[in-house]
């Protein structure tokens, strides 16, 4: 799949309280304000909880337009810009994107806008409430960079990694340290399929949070990655964390030449290999499961099929599906950035609502394709006592491939 590119050059120019808002940016804000039909509002999982329309793409754009018209100051708005999950549902649902983005070659880019406002605000000397938690998380990842060779392969201890880096597993620090089961099981599934691969060991700080703080630093890490991919001869990059995948697909091509490198999400890659080799997982897992589309796959890159199709390969497993179009309205509550660290209470309610919706489908297990969704759902489930266990799609597939793995899912376990 060729890469996505949706770049507005005038985003590079920082906004500052010290100067009037640039006319290009006024038009940008107006484009969403002018719709006024606010399709971006009721689709927003955050708005669904807070019911405050300021916390929507309409609200973000309108507040900037108001400032440009002499109503309020730019630095007064920042609190508003913390209420964004960066899930991308609003920008996809915006008629400017969904109905005419291709025709006019211009679309709504709310996620970029939110990140820009945050970093411009901080560059302007402003502060964001609770940002210290985000900073701590990023600092932790910056710290990992110093020792990365060790950390990003530690998860693979005991697993035979026999290939070169033509096919490279891209495992970031979050997955390598907190969502270890995903790369561990994925690697074993690939071994069973006889696929040769290597592990890419220098991912740098990949967290999308960094784009809200310092895009130059983010670009530094990303640039190093691209240079390394080329140096190491990476042809296929198999990505474990859809947060990385969305960045590789959406952000990298804005700044770097990704020609010759195919970026594939892990479920897609395994599915492709199973089909190529004519392999069906040998062990049946009889059961009905809910499936949660991560925003990073669904709304941000509109690739909702491969996790579903992969589950479809497992004999006996059936998804009680909520179509991807409906799931534009859902988020696990973690978001695709610092949201959960800024608004723990709302994140919890979003997660509760989502898990409750899964429980209403009459299942005991919700399959996810993102380690952050799993992390969030695990927390929410424990706290709220909801009878739905989050399980990564890869865990289900590994089990069906005969790889021993303990899970707490009543159906899979």
């Amino acid at each position: 799949m060729p890469y996505q590119l949706s770049k507005k050059d005038f985003y590079a120019e920082p906004l500052s309280k010290a100067k009037p808002i640039d006319e290009e940016f006024v038009k940008e804000a107006y484009l969403v304000f002018a719709c006024r039909h606010k399709f971006c509002r009721d689709i927003c999982p955050n708005f669904d909880i807070t019911r405050n329309e300021a916390h929507s793409s309409y609200g973000f754009h309108t507040s900037i337009l108001a400032v440009s018209r002499g109503v309020g100051q730019l630095d007064e708005l920042i609190d508003n810009f913390t209420y964004c999950l960066e899930c991308g549902a609003c920008e996809l649902r915006c008629p400017n994107t969904c109905m005419g983005g291709d025709f006019y070659r211009r679309s709504t880019t709310t996620v970029d806008l939110v990140r820009k406002i945050r970093r411009d605000h901080m560059a302007d000397g402003g502060e964001i409430k609770n940002w210290s938690a985000v900073k701590e998380y990023l600092d932790e990842h910056r710290g990992f960079v110093a020792t990365q060779g060790d950390l990003v392969t530690k998860w693979a201890e005991g697993i035979k990694v026999a290939g070169d880096l033509k096919t490279a597993l891209f495992v970031d620090f979050f997955t390598a340290t907190q969502g270890t089961e995903v790369p561990r099981l994925a690697a074993q599934v690939l071994n069973k399929l006889g696929v040769k691969y290597g592990i890419y060991t220098t991912p740098g700080v990949t967290a999308p949070e960094l784009l809200s703080e310092n895009d130059d630093e983010w670009k530094k890490y990303a640039g190093e990655n691209v240079a390394n991919f080329k140096k190491l001869g990476v042809q296929t990059l198999v990505v474990m964390n859809p947060h990385d995948y969305a960045l590789l697909i959406r952000e990298y091509p804005k700044w770097f030449d990704m020609d010759g490198i195919e970026t594939v999400f892990i479920t897609d890659f395994i599915l492709k290999k199973m089909k190529e080799k004519g392999v069906t997982p040998p062990k049946a897992i009889e059961g009905k499961f809910a499936y949660h589309d991560p925003c990073t796959l669904n709304t941000l890159v509109v690739e909702a099929e491969s996790p579903r199709d992969l589950v479809g390969m497992v004999p006996g497993a059936e998804i009680v599906d909520v179509p991807p179009g409906n799931q534009w309205r859902y988020c696990c509550g973690n978001g695709n950035g610092p949201y959960r660290k800024l608004h723990e209470d709302i994140a919890y309610r979003i997660g509760q609502k989502r898990l409750r919706a899964a429980a209403d489908l009459g299942v005991d297990t919700i399959l996810v394709a993102c380690p952050h969704c799993k992390d969030q759902f695990t927390d929410v489930k424990q706290k709220a006592g909801l009878p739905v266990e989050p399980v990564h799609v890869i865990e289900l597939v590994a089990k069906a491939m005969g790889i021993e793995w303990e899970t707490t899912s009543p159906t899979i376990g």
Partner: protein, 508 residues
């Protein structure tokens, strides 16, 4: 000094503190951006006067009791109150012309009861129709309020403007699909109005029919907090047929025939006129190509049981073909009809006289017209807008005319005719805003001259429209009674003051 001209009470720190005591700190918003955001609703607005209509405080009540508390306080202190639901109305109902308190009811979105036995549901008025229908889906039920803002409008606003729906020809409009509702009056009294004094009875012969009084008042009488609404079985099938015509006369005759034929499943029928087709050709071809020879288009839609709709569709084809209509194919029908809520809001639709894409906001001037007035109004509306386009090049743009069935449960008689005007809203100044008001007034006057009503769906409480509606259309005593009712229910004129010319109710 009259109530209309005397000074309103200020939203002081003490008032804010009291509101916070009533609703909780987090539900009383005083930040500038929270208030600025609620200065406008959906229609092109005087952006150059943003500050003049920014509310002083925004409250987010979560229950009827919260609304009672806020209204009692506002009434006591004589502070203007503007209710706000989805704020997607095109008649500026949610615009706080006198500032004061914006009562944003979006938190009141609970579904209290789904009563399948009696085919109705009780809901909070902050609920959005699409969300409601997602909940009803597994039951095979639907609440058929299908407006352009289906994905975002909220029931409270629909009640406030007495909304109209795209498929009302079969399912009825808001006054038909809202069975009863709970309203909080300015003094804090809570009443429930419906068929007689009941909640779930649709048709009663008990007492005055007050439901209609508390509908379409644009927030000038009360705030609706709960409602009982109709449920319909979700339709087995839908069909939308688009037919091309070479000229107005044939398209108009075909519309008459299809709407008077007596179909039970006809949900809507409409004409896109030639200017509208030209407008759509600018860019909606991005997904629905229209052949060049197409001048006018008629559409009919049918919903219901397959066994009913299938033969009805055949008959519809026969009528359209009889008048020279050429079927445009299922892609047109499916694509266009499914995108009916979305496709018109792109502000890139605007064009400068030299063909450059510019940013314009969509505005509809809608009229309730009877069948024989349609050709006259169509010509007059284009003439009026054309004149202003010439005078203010690049500021206004004629985006064509839609004609639409609007009689509930039957296709004939009443129609909606709307001319859509693109407006370079970002470039508004006092002069162009004034020109816009004059243009609206001319359109409204043309409608009233034909014994038609100024608005069928959006409402007639906008600057420019309202005086024509109140003083000309309603000159035969209706406005006098409105003023008496307004003064009786809202003696301090706190409810959405400035709308419907109702300040005049307080001229002693």
């Amino acid at each position: 000094m009259t109530a209309a001209t005397s000074t309103y009470g200020a939203v002081t720190d003490e008032v804010v503190a009291e509101l916070k005591r009533l609703l909780g700190d987090e539900n009383v918003l005083t930040d500038m951006h929270e208030r600025a955001m609620r200065a406008f609703s959906c229609a092109p607005a005087p952006l150059h006067r943003w500050k003049d209509q920014t509310p002083d405080v925004v409250v987010l009540p979560g229950s009827t009791e919260d609304v009672v508390g806020v209204l009692k306080l506002a009434n006591e202190r004589r502070i203007p109150v503007t209710p706000r639901a989805g704020a997607s109305g095109l008649a500026d109902g949610a615009m706080p012309l006198r500032k004061g308190i914006c009562v944003d009811i979006k938190r009141m979105n609970e579904i209290f009861e789904i009563d399948e036995d009696n085919m109705c549901a009780t809901v909070g008025t902050g609920i959005n129709m699409l969300k409601l229908n997602e909940v009803l889906e597994p039951l095979g039920k639907i609440y058929p309020d299908d407006l352009a803002g289906y994905a975002n409008a909220m029931l409270g606003g629909r009640i406030g403007c007495g909304g109209w729906t795209l498929i009302g020809g079969k399912f009825g409009h808001i006054p038909d699909t809202v069975i009863s509702m709970e309203c909080v009056l300015p003094d804090g009294q809570v009443i429930w109005v419906g068929g007689g004094g009941t909640k779930k009875i649709r048709k009663s012969s008990s007492g005055y029919r007050l439901k209609d009084l508390f509908m379409q008042h644009q927030g000038t009488l009360c705030i609706a907090t709960k409602a009982v609404i109709e449920l319909y079985p979700k339709s087995e099938v839908e069909f939308a047929g688009y037919f091309a015509f070479d000229n107005w006369d044939d398209a108009y005759a075909a519309l008459y025939d299809v709407t008077t034929r007596g179909f039970g499943n006809l949900s809507s029928a409409m004409i896109f006129d030639d200017k509208k087709i030209d407008f759509l050709r600018r860019d909606d071809e991005a997904f629905i190509p229209l052949p060049k020879e197409v001048k006018f288009v008629d559409l009919f839609t049918m919903y219901g049981l397959k066994c009913e709709v299938e033969p009805a569709v055949r008959e519809g084809f026969r009528i359209m073909k009889k008048h020279g209509g050429r079927y445009l194919g299922p892609e047109q029908g499916e694509g266009d009809w499914a995108s009916r809520h979305d496709r018109y809001h792109l502000s890139y639709h605007g064009r400068t006289p030299d063909g450059q894409a510019t940013l314009m906001s969509w505005h509809c001037e809608d009229t309730a017209a009877y069948h024989t007035a349609l050709p006259i109004l169509r010509e007059q509306y284009h003439e009026i807008v054309g004149r202003y386009m010439t005078e203010y090049p690049g500021v206004f743009d004629d985006w064509g005319i839609f004609i639409y069935t609007s009689n509930p449960f039957k296709g004939w008689g009443d129609y909606l005719i709307e001319i859509d005007v693109g407006i370079a809203e970002l470039q508004y100044n006092d002069e162009t805003w004034d020109a816009w008001i004059r243009m609206k007034r001319e359109i409204a006057e043309a409608a009233v001259a034909q014994e038609c009503s100024v608005s069928i769906c959006h409402g007639s409480c906008r600057e420019g429209d309202d005086d024509v509606a109140m003083h000309k259309e309603m000159k035969n005593g209706t406005f006098d009674i409105m003023k008496k009712i307004k003064r009786m229910i809202d003696p301090n004129n706190i409810m959405n003051p400035g709308k419907y010319c109702l300040d005049e109710a307080y001229d002693d």
